[in-house]
């Protein structure tokens, strides 16, 4: 009896000691991690997800369902940490289980909040988030979270990313792929990461288990003005090619042919009633003589009259809305607008096709048969043997012009039961020129007065239009004046004349008179003059610790020239140094020159590929330093 008692006591003592040791170890671990992650309250020690695959039937249609079971171990790096995490789901998925276990594996009650998750510019979507709070009490405390998520159709589950929005010390993804399923896991952006991969055949279960283990995953950068995450975050594309159902091979997305067939099947479900569109098309082309006039008339009408409003609800995320419905609604998403453009052009007698593509936000091309490849739809007009890409979601775009986000992108153009793969041409920054010419004289009262002319084409013009046209009419005049004067009270603008503001086919020209106070400071016989009022990029330093390249909305080209008449009895006694730096991606060429009667300041700035690459951040920043010096320097006119 005594022995038994002793044994029991020793057992509990041992358990307690072990517990105490474990707590001590966890605390040490937390302290170490806090050094590594000083900004984090909680990190994930391990996250393991197991994916299993099943065939299910829904409305006579077989689908491959994916079940995900995930266990995550979190450790708190501080005492009393609040930590809210979330799970994403939508119409194609559900979260069926969510448990949190704390000390001694004790189950805790989970309070979760269900919330709408709408992406940018989406009016309504089926995306939802389940938020839940893991509250920690002590540093080194460990909590486990378990959840199960089901994706009803593998085709709507095209990729898995490894990183989370918290650091993960060890991330494991295990795929138990049944032999009846032909699934390729395509690795993306693995370079530079420490990982292990293991493939194991399980003849008994008739499965192959593929395991990936990634170590020390930081939170991904959340940086504006960057390419989409598919360019730099490690992830897997799940390419479900086919499956074998009772000896019969059934295709999923084995190739781009299958992807196209599926898209086409959705398009065929559409029931556009062209009769509804006929009157408007006839009206639009009635007085138009040439094909180009007719096409423009239709294309511009869609841009001007159909508002972009996107519903991403289940299949609506993939199926183009019927063109007559879009016309009647006067709104639609990109697919609806492309479909309307197509049908209107067909009615007018042209060959117009729906066209799928991934914008430059996405890293992939159609070599990969997956729904992850595209995110946009436009209309391709085949005319005179040429393909002309029409994207009516781009407000104010001219016929023949190509928006930056689709340039260089591969497109999938419908062609009956087949399709055409093409690449959208890339145009240079000269297509987006913004040019300013200013002629100034120096008045006796010290003001610089004269004329200014600004000219915009391409994306520069569209950018201006988007901002200007969204303003309320009653503020437009004021806003234009503020724009031209940079909101500087010293600069007054009058006699504004605009050309091409409502005409897509010609450059936008804004002419005005300009008068600038306080740009000239007079001391003794010298006049110090600030000649550049715009000073583009003056404060454009880029944080060199930034992870992603800096991406501009489009390729930029600024050209400007300021001419100042030198007053009689004065001469230029000092001019700032010129600046000329040319690289593959950007060039700055700023110079002063003068004669006895005129000072000329000329500036050309080009961001030729619309991007500043990470490798160039240091040279870019030193360029900006040089630029600041130049902008900060003054011209001196001295009495002769």
């Amino acid at each position: 009896m005594n022995k038994l008692f002793l044994l029991i006591v020793s057992f509990f003592v041992l358990i307690n000691t072990l517990n105490a040791q474990r707590i001590e170890q966890d605390l040490v671990k937390a302290k170490q991690l806090k050094k590594e992650y000083p900004d984090e309250k909680v990190v994930c020690l391990s996250s393991e997800s197991v994916f299993n695959f099943f065939i299910t039937s829904d409305k006579d249609e077989d689908m491959i369902e994916v079940d995900q079971n995930t266990e995550q171990r979190f450790i708190s790096l501080i005492d009393y940490a609040e930590f809210v995490t979330f799970l994403y789901y939508d119409e194609n998925s559900e979260i069926s289980r969510l448990d949190v276990r704390g000390r001694n594996n004790k189950k805790e009650s989970v309070v979760s909040l269900d919330q709408e998750y709408n992406g940018n510019g989406i009016f309504h979507s089926d995306g939802r988030m389940k938020l839940y709070d893991l509250g920690f009490d002590t540093k080194g405390e460990i909590k486990r979270s378990y959840y199960s998520k089901t994706y009803f159709n593998i085709l709507y589950f095209p990729s898995v990313f490894f990183q989370e929005y918290f650091p993960v010390m060890e991330k494991t993804l295990i795929f138990n792929i049944p032999d009846w399923l032909d699934l390729e896991l395509m690795e993306q952006n693995f370079e530079g990461y420490t990982f292990e991969k293991n493939i194991e055949k399980n003849p008994k279960q008739k499965t192959t288990t593929i395991t990936y283990v990634f170590k020390n995953l930081d939170t991904p950068p959340d940086e504006r003005k960057s390419f989409g995450p598919t360019y730099y975050m490690p992830h897997l594309l799940l390419l479900a090619k086919s499956y074998n159902d009772k000896g019969v091979k059934k295709n999923l997305f084995g190739s781009v042919d299958d992807l196209y067939d599926w898209y086409k099947s959705l398009v065929k479900q559409g029931k556009t009633d062209r009769e509804v569109l006929k009157p408007i098309v006839e009206e639009l082309i009635a007085d138009k003589q040439t094909d180009e006039e007719k096409i423009k008339s239709i294309y511009y009408w869609v841009q001007d009259n159909i508002r972009y409003i996107a519903f991403e609800d289940g299949l609506a995320g993939f199926k183009p809305e019927d063109a007559d419905k879009v016309y009647q609604n006067r709104y639609g998403d990109c697919k609806g607008m492309a479909n309307l453009t197509k049908h209107m052009l067909i009615i007018a007698g042209f060959d117009a096709r729906l066209t799928w593509l991934g914008t430059r936000h996405i890293a992939y091309s159609y070599d990969i048969p997956s729904l992850a490849v595209d995110n946009h739809m436009i209309c391709t007009l085949i005319h005179g043997g040429k393909k002309i890409y029409l994207d009516a979601t781009e407000e104010f775009i001219a016929y023949g012009a190509l928006a930056e986000r689709i340039q260089g992108r591969q497109v999938l153009i419908e062609d009956g039961d087949s399709y055409i793969l093409e690449t959208v041409p890339v145009v240079s920054s000269t297509e987006n020129l913004q040019e300013t010419t200013v002629n100034l004289i120096l008045e006796n009262d010290g003001r610089l007065t004269g004329t200014m002319k600004m000219e915009f084409i391409g994306e520069a013009k569209m950018d201006f239009q988007r901002n200007y046209q969204s303003l309320s009419s009653s503020y437009k005049d004021d806003a234009l004046r503020v724009y031209l004067s940079d909101g500087d009270k010293n600069i007054s603008i009058d006699k504004i004349e605009t050309i091409g503001l409502n005409d897509r086919d010609i450059p936008l020209i804004i002419k005005s008179n300009i008068s600038m106070d306080n740009q000239v400071a007079e001391f003794d016989d010298d006049m110090y003059i600030t000649i550049d009022k715009d000073k583009e990029f003056e404060h454009f330093d880029i944080d060199s610790t930034r992870f992603c390249d800096w991406l501009f909305s489009y390729k930029l080209l600024f050209r400007s020239e300021v001419r100042l008449a030198i007053p009689e009895a004065y001469k230029v006694s000092y001019c700032p140094d010129n600046l000329k730096i040319i690289t593959d991606d950007f060039s700055f060429d700023i110079s002063y020159s003068y004669t006895d009667t005129e000072l000329k300041y000329s500036k050309i700035i080009e961001i030729s590929n619309g991007v500043i690459r990470k490798k160039d951040f240091d040279s870019w920043n030193s360029l900006i330093e040089e630029l600041k010096k130049l902008y900060n320097d003054q011209v001196i006119l001295s009495k002769i």
Partner: protein, 724 residues
């Protein structure tokens, strides 16, 4: 009335016909219950759109407004108050017909937001006169109300949104909201008070407000101000209702203007309907007139009676609060405390402590209700026989006391007299000090009331809320400026703000830990209710942790943004809080900062140009159109902004242009005065911008412009630092 019935049926029929097309399209896919809803909706549309107001027949937009973004052709708000069985019913129908004249207006209305409790109807008139009915059952819930544009936003409630089809520039959108609610027949129920200006974002051709109230139990307070028209009354014996109409037309849109209180300058109406059964009239917490007769004015006596009523009805609650919550004071002070001022201060700061610590005590949120605060304070003072009077005032931004109409407009204060000293005590917020001036109603006429059980003994007198002068509200910024690398200004600054001015700086200067824990220690309280419940304790600690982290992050962010407003700070190096400004012994907020600025030194050959004027921060930049003004000027408060700048000139350079820094513009409205002298190698600049009063008549605007412009011109002054 009987003749109207066939007409109504005709309109109804036309409506059902117009909507039936839509219904037919959908009928195949809709269940019977949904079809029933559709029919009900069609009936409602018919009732509201079929309204007999001729103004709603208009589709013509006045030519003078064609350059506007949108024009309201007609707007009507109907409020119907009735008494059915044991319920008080309230119904609101808002209808508006708007011409959309540009893309921004179309964008606004094409994503149409509305409260989920409302029913809506929308029709669109095309320029050719055709009319389309919009299906509204496709609306979706909005979960994040942050996205709701202000045009549609009214309260933090659930919203829906609808993508409105077929909307283009030139269209007229005709829409309504219909809201209905029922209240169980309480003794008294005050419906939401409404105060609004007749002009808004868009010009209005015609607008009308109708109330319909049953004869029994409803009291109306209504008045119009600043040139708005009067109410028109009609009575219907049959339905035993009274109707009141307010009509306004040809109203230009509200132009934004600085130093303006719109309720004081623009045509404005105010109203509220209260249901009260007669026997409760004597205890009412509203200003009730006669049933069915709109009340338009509140007399001094009524106001006194009202204060008396509210005091009496809260007596028990207040006594309970004082007895259970104010043990600290009871313990510390005997019944006949000699040092009355010390007691007053302690009582005030004790109650302020409840406000600033209310994060921890959820049940004390009531303490910020100003009637309750004043009554508690009064009770505490009465117990020490400290002379006090309840003061009721109206915020100077909403009305003057002559225009008082609704009890919600009032602010409660307490006038306390100790010896020869008089204090106006008001409900504290977390930053208030007992001696602070009451900025909300500075200089306003108010009533002081000594309530009494016997109404005959009640005393009411007129007083003026003391007004602070500019010297009470000084903001001083001392900058010691040195140059490094010739182009970087390194600035060590000390910022002191006093009086009401410091309220502009509190939220960016103070974080919770700077001042709340000290208050807990002073009153010997624990920050959270003591509990042995381990889960609660843990929750509390997590809250503290999170708050601390959030607070310091917020302070950093706020300082960054605040700095960026006036000049481009290239690095922000240090911040030190010297005085909190909310301490009972020191009421100045003082802190120091170190930061560097790059943009203010410009090279000019071998010399440098200093944009020295910019150091006083951004100043008001008046636009050309602002130079003339036809509305009076309301300024937050009188104030002086002082800058004391010491700039050390680097060796080998001399300054040119210092004389330009000597400016003196001063008149009865304010001034801008600056002086500059060179002492050794230190340039000493002193500037002072003064707003002498918190109000100026419009005639004085040109005088204000003088010093506002002088201050702006100062920011443009440059000095030449010439190489010797």
């Amino acid at each position: 009335m009987r003749n109207l019935k066939p007409l109504l049926f005709l309109i109804l029929f036309l409506f059902l016909a117009s909507t039936s097309l839509v219904a037919q399209q959908n009928s195949r896919s809709k269940k019977p219950s949904e079809l029933k809803l559709l029919r009900e909706k069609a009936l409602q549309d018919a009732k509201i759109f079929g309204n007999s107001d001729v103004e709603f027949e208009n589709l013509e937009t006045p030519k003078k407004w064609l350059d506007e973004s949108a024009v309201v052709l007609a707007r009507k708000i109907e409020y119907i108050y009735s008494n059915e069985f044991k319920n008080i019913m309230f119904e609101k129908i808002f209808r508006s017909r708007v011409t959309l004249l540009d893309q921004s207006a179309v964008e606004l209305y094409s994503e149409f937001y509305f409260m989920s409790t409302n029913e809506i109807g929308i029709r669109i008139f095309k320029p050719d006169g055709t009319m389309h009915v919009v299906e509204t059952d496709q609306a979706v819930e909005v979960e994040n109300t942050v996205n709701v544009p202000s045009t549609f936003y009214s309260l933090k409630v659930e919203y829906k949104k609808l993508a409105v089809p077929n909307l283009e520039v030139g269209d007229i959108i005709d829409y309504y909201y219909h809201y209905k609610e029922a209240h169980i027949n309480f003794a008294e129920h005050a419906f939401e008070p409404i105060i609004f200006t007749l002009s808004g974002d868009y010009p209005v051709l015609f607008q009308k407000i109708d109330f319909k109230v049953q004869f029994r139990g409803f009291y109306i307070n209504f008045n119009s101000y600043n040139g708005a028209d009067e109410l028109i009354e009609t009575e219907n014996e049959q339905t035993r209702t009274k109707s009141f109409s307010f009509v306004d037309s040809d109203r230009e849109k509200l132009e934004s203007m600085r130093f303006l209180y719109k309720y004081l300058s623009e045509p404005t109406i105010k109203f509220q309907v209260v249901y009260s059964s007669p026997k409760y009239k004597r205890t009412s917490s509203n200003f009730l007139g006669e049933i069915g007769e709109p009340k338009s004015h509140v007399s001094q006596i009524e106001l006194g009676e009202y204060v008396n009523r509210v005091t009496a009805s809260n007596k028990k609650g207040v006594e309970y609060y004082v007895n259970t919550r104010c043990g600290y004071l009871r313990k510390k002070y005997s019944r006949n405390e000699v040092n009355k001022r010390r007691y007053l201060m302690d009582a005030y700061y004790y109650l302020r402590f409840y406000v600033l610590s209310s994060n921890g005590y959820d049940d004390l949120k009531y303490s910020v209700n100003d009637e309750y605060f004043v009554l508690i304070m009064k009770t505490l003072l009465d117990r020490q026989d400290i002379r006090n009077e309840i003061v009721v005032a109206i915020p100077r931004s909403t009305a003057t006391l002559d225009n008082l109409l609704l009890s919600e407009e009032l602010k409660w204060l307490l006038k306390v007299n100790i010896g020869n000293s008089e204090y106006i005590i008001f409900t504290p917020d977390r930053y208030s000090n007992m001696d602070d001036s009451y900025a909300v109603a500075e200089g306003c006429v108010a009533f002081a009331v000594i309530p009494s059980k016997n109404i005959k003994n009640m005393r009411v007198s007129e007083i003026e809320i003391p007004i602070s002068s500019a010297v009470d509200n000084i903001v001083t910024k001392q900058y010691n400026v040195t140059l490094s690398d010739m182009n970087v200004m390194n600035i060590e600054s000390t910022i002191t703000s006093e009086g009401i001015s410091k309220y502009d700086y509190f939220s960016s200067a103070l974080i919770y830990d700077d001042y709340v824990p000290a208050e807990f220690r002073y009153f010997d309280f624990h920050e959270f209710p003591e509990t042995k419940n381990a889960t609660k304790v843990r929750e509390q600690k997590r809250k503290i942790n999170d708050r601390q982290a959030e607070d310091s992050k917020k302070r950093e962010e706020r300082f960054e943004t605040r700095r960026n407003r006036s000049f481009n700070v290239s690095s922000f190096d240090d911040f030190e809080l010297i005085e909190t400004g909310i301490d009972r012994n020191s009421t100045s907020l003082v802190y120091s900062e170190k930061f560097s600025v790059e943009d203010l030194v410009k090279k000019a050959g071998p010399n440098y140009m200093l944009e020295i004027g910019m150091l006083i921060g951004s100043q008001i930049e008046l636009e050309e159109k602002e130079m003339k003004r036809d509305k009076d000027i309301w300024i937050g408060h009188a104030v002086i902004y002082i800058h004391e700048i010491n700039l050390t000139v680097p060796d080998g350079y001399k300054l040119q242009g210092i004389d330009k820094l000597n400016i003196n513009v001063e008149n009865e409205t304010g001034g801008f005065i600056s002086t500059a002298v060179l002492e050794g190698n230190v340039l000493k600049i002193n500037t002072k911008k003064i707003y002498k009063n918190n109000y100026e008549p419009k005639e004085n605007w040109s005088k204000m412009v003088e010093f506002i412009e002088a201050a702006y011109d100062f920011t443009q002054i440059k000095l030449l630092m010439k190489k010797v």
